[in-house]
């Protein structure tokens, strides 16, 4: 089925919660209001003409500092600087967070992408774990790495990082830790030359001089 037709079916079901359809890029997507995402997901799975029985991918996104003009001028992430110390910045993250759902129907052989956007201050999206069980781990990962809370998820623990890790690394304003459990995470100082002489070489015997 055509992407546009799928969107229209979806919009007929959830009404004003279908915020728009974008087919300008390589892949079209529908923008859905976060409150209605679980309802939309259930409809997409159970509606006979659609039958989206596989959630291929669920990606959390941090839109902070995104260059909307497509010039590649997004805000750079903070890493470790050349001397091995974590880079710091006073900039406060301000963009929205988002989730993209890539769906596929094994029966009808069509795909569909939905996106939601939530504010950084209240990053809460209803879970779709009741619709596709595979969302369970994907959502835990998105919570772990991006700090998006999935309401109704029965087991929203960190997925890949330690339970006591501070922060969500895939956020654009995340600062790399300088240490973890008293272990310094500093890199090697790359500014110093490895060939700097430490002492002046002593003069050895000239070859053939002792002859």
């Amino acid at each position: 089925m055509e992407q546009k037709a799928i969107y229209e079916l979806l919009a007929g079901k959830i009404g004003a919660a279908a915020l728009g359809f974008n087919d300008e890029g390589v892949e079209s997507y529908a923008e859905v209001a976060p409150e209605k995402i679980a309802e939309a997901a259930l409809f997409l799975r159970d509606e006979e003409q659609l039958g989206f029985n596989q959630l291929m991918c669920l990606s959390g996104i941090d839109w902070d500092g995104f260059d909307e003009n497509g010039k590649g001028k997004s805000v750079a992430i903070l890493g470790y600087s050349a001397d091995g110390k974590p880079e710091t910045s006073d900039r406060v993250g301000e963009g929205d967070l988002g989730v993209a759902y890539s769906l596929y129907s094994h029966e009808k052989k069509h795909k569909f992408t939905m996106r939601v956007r939530v504010s950084r201050e209240r990053a809460v999206v209803p879970t779709v774990i009741d619709v596709w069980s595979t969302a369970g781990w994907h959502e835990r990962e998105a919570w772990d790495l991006l700090g998006i809370r999935f309401e109704g998820h029965p087991d929203l623990r960190r997925m890949l990082l330690e339970e006591d890790w501070v922060g969500h690394p895939l956020r654009k304003d995340y600062q790399m830790p300088g240490q973890w459990e008293q272990v310094p995470l500093e890199g090697k100082d790359m500014t110093a030359s490895p060939f700097t002489p430490t002492s002046t070489p002593t003069t050895g015997p000239t070859p053939g001089a002792e002859g």
Partner: protein, 392 residues
């Protein structure tokens, strides 16, 4: 200690209990340093004797946050990180990534490069499946097949070394083509010779040694059955999905690269030794896929076109037009997908990796319940996971 709810769900509460004596489930750690978990996977089991009532996988021991690294370096530099996802089939991971980048770039890749990619990816797939058979046999107590499988894998590593320069981590494909052309005509004939040997002799050996071994079948038939419904629900892909009787393969159903040109079958589990979707079915799908991969390699090399194998100059970083797309390929373990968001620059704004093992493993939370501990070992082996791509 299991919660009351778990006990009810698993039927544990119904079991005969001596009045006045309180019993509880035993917690058992399987892994992270355990040979049967195929890497640093930790399974937290709640058991009653030999019966497992709850499985909680604990992940992250190999987490490197490659997705964060991707946001700091350019597209071509990140290819080496894809090698390290599924380190048993790095060519497939390379292929998945470059396909995703090229989908956004809309670049015409030379036919020759596509053919070489297919050959490399299929050889990698064979190597990965050989490891799957070998270690699975080892899990079941069969030592000999391991040596046989590793012997053939060694030949593949040598062949790939000759074309890519590395034995395990290749960094072979780049957006727009492949790094190196075929070293010489000898390479092509050597690959064909190896493929023929594999098809005519070696697969028969594996079947005699392992596949139709009575003890092996006894351990695997009817064990850990994944139903079709569960497989869809948990997003299983690859041999795990096909083992459950679903004829789905991205190479056929969502073709990418030049796979549409080749003639090959998609083997599915048929429940020959028990129920459709049991461990033996998943295992056998892999054996049959080796044969199919051999067919693809032969066709790709027989029709290898001439010309260049790079569309973009190698040393130049690529610029990807703004946009977002999800692109998927069939890696050795299943559907390897990348959701890339580009802001029009040389660095991805976001690169989410959907790895097949990550999704396949999740089904253990459901299907693992009620199994014997020893059957759980068989189950994990039959899923054929690689922790490099689970933890990323």
């Amino acid at each position: 200690m299991a919660t009351e709810e778990t006990k009810m769900n698993s039927g544990w509460a119904d079991q005969d209990q001596v009045p006045g004596i309180k019993s509880e489930l035993m917690e058992l750690n399987m892994g992270p340093q355990h040979p049967a978990t195929h890497g640093v996977l930790r399974l937290l089991l709640e058991t009653d004797g030999e019966i497992v009532y709850k499985v909680t996988p604990v992940l992250g021991y190999l987490h490197r946050c490659a997705e964060k690294i991707a946001e700091g370096i350019n597209y071509k530099q990140w290819v080496i990180y894809t090698d390290r996802f599924d380190y048993l089939a790095p060519m497939c991971c390379n292929h998945a990534y470059v396909t995703a980048v090229e989908k956004l770039m809309d670049v015409e890749v030379p036919e020759r490069a596509e053919h070489l990619r297919v050959v490399a990816a299929e050889l990698s797939r064979i190597a990965s499946h050989l490891i799957a058979l070998a270690t699975f046999g080892l899990d079941m107590g069969a030592w000999t097949p391991l040596l046989y499988c590793f012997r053939e894998r060694e030949v593949i590593l040598d062949l790939l070394e000759r074309i890519a320069g590395g034995r395990m981590l290749y960094n072979y494909m780049v957006p727009g083509g492949v790094r190196y052309d075929v070293p010489d005509e000898r390479w092509v004939s050597d690959v064909l010779e190896f493929i023929t040997m594999l098809e005519t002799k070696k697969i028969k050996d594996y079947n005699q040694l392992l596949s139709y071994n009575k003890i092996f079948i006894g351990r695997l038939g009817n064990v850990a059955v994944i139903s079709k419904q569960d497989a869809f629900d948990y997003g299983c892909t690859g041999p795990v999905l096909r083992g459950s009787g679903v004829k789905f393969d991205c190479r056929k159903d969502d073709p990418y690269s030049v796979y549409h040109k080749f003639d090959f079958d998609v083997p599915v589990g048929m429940g020959e030794m028990g129920t459709v979707g049991d461990c033996w079915d998943r295992y056998m799908v892999r054996v049959r896929e080796i044969e199919e991969a051999c067919k693809i390699v032969r066709q790709a090399l027989d029709s290898l076109p001439g010309g260049s194998c790079q569309a973009i100059e190698l040393k130049k970083p690529v610029k990807v037009p703004a946009g977002a797309a999800y692109s998927r390929t069939e890696s050795a373990k299943g559907e390897m997908g990348h959701y890339i968001i580009s802001d029009g620059g040389q660095t991805p704004f976001r690169n989410k990796v959907r790895s097949p093992s990550f999704c396949n493993l999740q089904v253990i939370e459901k299907v693992g319940v009620g199994q014997m501990v020893s059957d759980l070992v068989a189950f994990v082996g039959s899923l054929d996971i690689v922790l490099g791509e689970i933890d990323r």
